[in-house]
Structure formats: C-alpha cells, structure tokens
Symmetry: C2
Subunit: 338 residues, 2 copies
C-alpha cells in the first residue's frame, strides 16, 4: 500500500510572486497547495509604501483566485519612521532587508549594515514586534558570501535582542551553527538547498535552472541544512525562495538567479523527508514552526500527498509567460492527491 501524509496549513515563508503576467501565472500554483506565503517585496520599484503594499496584496489575491490563501506581505527595508511602521504594522508580517545589489532587484537595498546606522528603524520594529527578514550575503567571493555575513547577523542579534531576525534561505553550515547562539535568530531553508550542491549547478553540465542566490554550496553545508530540517528544529521554517524568471532569461548568455519550485516543493519535500525516514517531522518544517515563530493563523487547508510517481512538467505556461521548474521532465516519487 502506498504511503500517505496529510499536511495541515502548509506555508511557504519566502516566496517571489513577481507582478503582472508572471504573477498571474505563478500565484495560483502556490495558492493551490499552500495556506499562505510570505511574499518578497523586491518588485521594480520595491514595495515601500502602504499604498503599494495594499495594492500588491490585492493583485496577488486577484491572481490567486478562489483558493483559500493568505499572502503575508513584507516591506522592502528602508529607514522607516516609528509612526509609519505603527500604521502599517497590521498589514505586514515582516520587513525584508537586502544588502544593495546582492540579488535580483536589490539595487536600492541597504549599503551600510552597521547596527547603529540601522538602529532607528530596527528599534522601532523591535518595539512594534515586526520581524526582520534578511538576505545575508556580503559582496565577497561567491562561495564565501553567506559565511562572511555571520558576524553581521551576530551583531544585529546582539544589538536588538527582542527583534526576531530571520536568516533567509540559509545555505551553509556556518548559518546553521549560528542559529542556536542567539534566541532571536531563525531561518528559512529552500527545497533546492536541501538537495543540491554546487556540483549539481556546475559540476557536470552547467544548470541554469538550479542557479540561485545564495548559490548552492558544499556537501558539508547541505548535510548541516538537512539535519536541522529533518529533525524539525523549531527555529527553522520552509521558505521556497521560488523565484520565477522567464525561460529565455534563464537559458541565455547571462542567466538570472532563481529556482522555480512553487508547484513541486511539497512533492519533493515529502520524497526527501520520506527518504530519510523523517516524514513525521515534515508538518513542523512546512507549517508548525512558522506558526510559532510568526504567531500567525492562516486559513485552514489540508494537503494530502501519496507515494506515487509524478513527472515534473517541462514548463508552466500561461498569460504569455513560460517558466521552467526545478527537475523539469524528471520524476518525483510523491504526488499531491487532487
């Protein structure tokens, strides 16, 4: 008899939904199987006002259609006033900080990560209970960028002990090691960083659809990530960082960073947790930990997965957009029961 697992209120705590036609294409794919998702604000221009935030949320809800799905909105980090943050607090789940120029659409990010420079805004966030989500990479050598960022995480965690700081899409043993050193540090982990290393991206053929930032690292890094995910470490949440780019921008002479996993993440995670005999911990990773960390109450949704082969589509196409998912054309051994 095939194995089954039913997940309650699956959450994707790090998601790119983009805008316009791409939003139309990808929002329903997430809304179908997730109760909610933390939505990245790195549009062009980035989401920095209440008006832009509410309008974007409305566009997401429209695109998601009739599904029970809550987009948890974020602002793009800037120096915001206490009064502004107080006014906008009920509409956001956190604020996303990007070092300037570090990834897609982050040109207007933060150029100084000094705690004192950031203090007015971070203190206001701390008082108001607004979490800080961080893309933690320096502008150093590509394999060292996340590790080099650890002292910045440490100094922020120390300087603002009541501020919840989420180390987004961690990829290194260094980040895993830091997680338990500060009560107010948390982390999201993607599907791809649980499964691949740089060998998969560039060890055989070069694979643009596995290229993302932070780039996949070494085997010992992957092992560290696997360990905390599979053991349902309470400070670790699933965040897909699913980042759709049009096919022609991935398969070109300069390929944009981002792996598209939204419609296949749950199937891959079920296969992965099952492989390591940890299926019972998937509920914590996919939802419970996030509920505890963020204190949210998403719309109820049950998703049942079955151990049955599923062939990943070569692409998802609609509204004039074409996006190639991770593992396009390959077979996953778990499927969603429709």
């Amino acid at each position: 008899m095939s194995k089954l697992i039913t997940l309650q209120t699956p959450l994707d705590m790090h998601l790119h939904l983009r805008d316009a036609q791409m939003l139309q294409l990808v929002a329903p794919l997430t809304a179908k199987t997730f109760s909610g998702a933390l939505v990245m604000p790195n549009l062009v221009p980035p989401v920095t006002t209440k008006e832009a935030l509410l309008a974007y949320k409305q566009r997401i809800c429209n695109a998601a259609g009739d599904e029970k799905f809550e987009p948890y909105m974020t602002l793009f980090f800037q120096h915001y006033s206490y009064d502004f943050l107080k006014e906008v607090k009920e509409h956001i789940i956190g604020i996303k900080l990007y070092p300037a120029g570090i990834t897609t659409n982050s040109e207007t990010g933060v150029s100084s990560l000094d705690s004192e420079t950031l203090r007015p805004t971070l203190e206001a966030m701390s008082e108001l209970g607004i979490p800080l989500c961080v893309h933690g990479e320096t502008n150093g050598f590509v394999m060292d960028r996340e590790k080099e960022f650890m002292p910045i995480y440490a100094s922020l965690a120390e300087a603002f002990p009541k501020l919840k700081i989420i180390m987004e899409h961690i990829t290194t043993k260094a980040a895993v090691d830091l997680l338990d050193k500060y009560d107010n540090l948390f982390a999201t982990i993607t599907v791809q960083h649980l499964l691949i290393t740089l060998d998969d991206v560039a060890g055989g053929m070069l694979k643009p659809h596995l290229f993302c930032k932070p780039i996949a690292k070494r085997y010992e890094d992957r092992s560290a990530l696997q360990k905390v995910a599979l053991s349902a470490h309470p400070k670790v949440m699933f965040g897909s960082d699913s980042a759709p780019h049009p096919k022609h921008k991935k398969e070109s002479c300069g390929c944009a960073a981002g792996v598209f996993t939204a419609p296949i993440a749950l199937q891959i995670l079920a296969q992965f947790f099952d492989k390591y005999k940890s299926l019972e911990n998937l509920q914590a990773f996919i939802s419970d930990n996030a509920l505890n960390i963020y204190g949210i109450t998403p719309p109820k949704k049950e998703v049942t997965l079955i151990q049955k082969e599923f062939i990943v589509p070569q692409s998802y196409d609609n509204f004039g957009e074409t996006v190639v998912p991770m593992y396009a054309g390959e077979t996953i051994t778990w499927s969603i029961v429709e």
Copy 2:
C-alpha cells in the same frame, strides 16, 4: 603613439578543433594567428589509431587552408604497446590522458590512475620521449577536483622521472605550487583562467560562455596563475583550451563546458601582459617556453599586435555553425595588425 608588440611563432599548446562543420569554422581562426597548436584527441570516437590520427590531421590541414600552420597531433590515452608507440611517434607530440567521464567526450578515459596500472604505456612513452598531457581532475567536489589530483601528479612524476608530464589548463595555486617540485612537470594555462574567477561565472548572472572544466576558482588561485604566466616561468606555456560548442548547447537548460577563445586569445593576452607591465614576457609564454619544452620547430610566423580597440564579435558563424566567444560584444584594448 600606440604600443606595438610583434610575436614570433605563436603557439597554442592545448586546443580543441572538433570535426566536420565545426572544424571548418574554427580551424582557420586559429591558423590565422598561430604557427601551430597542440590538438586534443577527444573526438567521438576518440583518436586512438594511426589511421584516425593521420586522417584527422589531414582534415585539419584542409580546414586551415593556405595558412602556415602545424597541427601537433595527440592520441587519446589508452594502454598502447611499445611497438605501436614507436611506429606512431613521428606523428604525435604527446598523448592526452583523461580520467574517465571528467569532461567533454572523455567517457572512454582512464578509470585507474595508479602508476603501476599505467606503467607499461608510460614506460614506453618515457623511453620514446613522448610527453604525457593530463586533464588533472578527480571526480570530487567541483572546486576541489584539481587540488585533489595533485598527489596523482606527484606519484606519476616520481614513478616516471624521464616522462615529461604536462598539467593541462591548471587553475589552482596547488598546481602552481607543485610545478617546481618535480623537474618533469610542466603546465599550460588558458586565457580565461588568467582573467576570471568563479565570481565571473556564477557570482552575478550565471555566464555559460565562461563555464569550462576545470571551473574557474578563487582569487588566490588566479593570482598564482598570473604570477607564473607574467613572469615567464619557463615551465609554463599558453594553451587556450579553446573549446567551441554550438551556441544552442551553451545557452540551454544544460550547458556544455568550454570557453571559445581562439580568435581573441592573442589580443586578450597582449592587453593582460601590458596591464601588468610584462609585455616583454609574452613571447616566452606564447611560444619560447613551448619550443623548449616540446623541442618543436613550427613554421615561422610573425604576428603584430597594437594597442587599439577591438570589439569582440557577438559570434563566429560559418558552415552552419555558430559559436559565441568569450567577451562577445565587449571591447579589448589590443588588436591584431592585419
């Protein structure tokens, strides 16, 4: 007044010319500015017989046209007999060893690199004075593969002290450090590994046209390579490893390894050596060292370069093939005087 440099008998001691239409396209581009080139034998099937060798050489000469150009032929390493090697010696400059499956068309390469397993053939080569050219990578983590191969180089160099061993397309400080430890170790260095690191391949956008094997490494590795090239280290030769792939195989969901530099290598090298005030050492790197190491007498050719802007073509197209060069569309500050 613009600076000038005239190079005598430029040599490319590691070159992929492929076959059929691709050979027709790329052979003239090398023959135009190089006196000779050491030609890789990794065709499908690989070059392993005298007949295949001579026929391939003839096809190269035909494709190269009227230019004074000597293709220095190599055999694909197998266990060859002394008698065979003696017979074929006058037609080859060396034998190229590929660990099985390590790069393009290397599936039939060597599966054991143990000195004793290789002894019969390597001893024959040693007696006959046939150099061994090696693609030195293990099947380990992509950033470690060359470094992990160093003990194999060391054991081969020790076991066969009269065998000239060329560490092909070295990319690491580890290989540079090994170079002077054994009299019979030599090395080729490509244009791209003098100029780029993994940051250029995957630190911003992912750049398929800068993806090759061995992959570009760290800044300290690049510095070590630059130092021996710019100082005209006598055991180091230029070998472009120029490796054309059709454009559609580079800009795709699985990009083949290889950087195409043949028609722009001299211009880039002049710019690079000039930038580091080492133009006077380019002659040794581009020809004299190879003449000494291999004891060859290529057809005489003078190539004059001038400090004048040259815009790299977006692609080279002919015979139904399209190949994108390194730095397509970018400007190099040195040109060849036609």
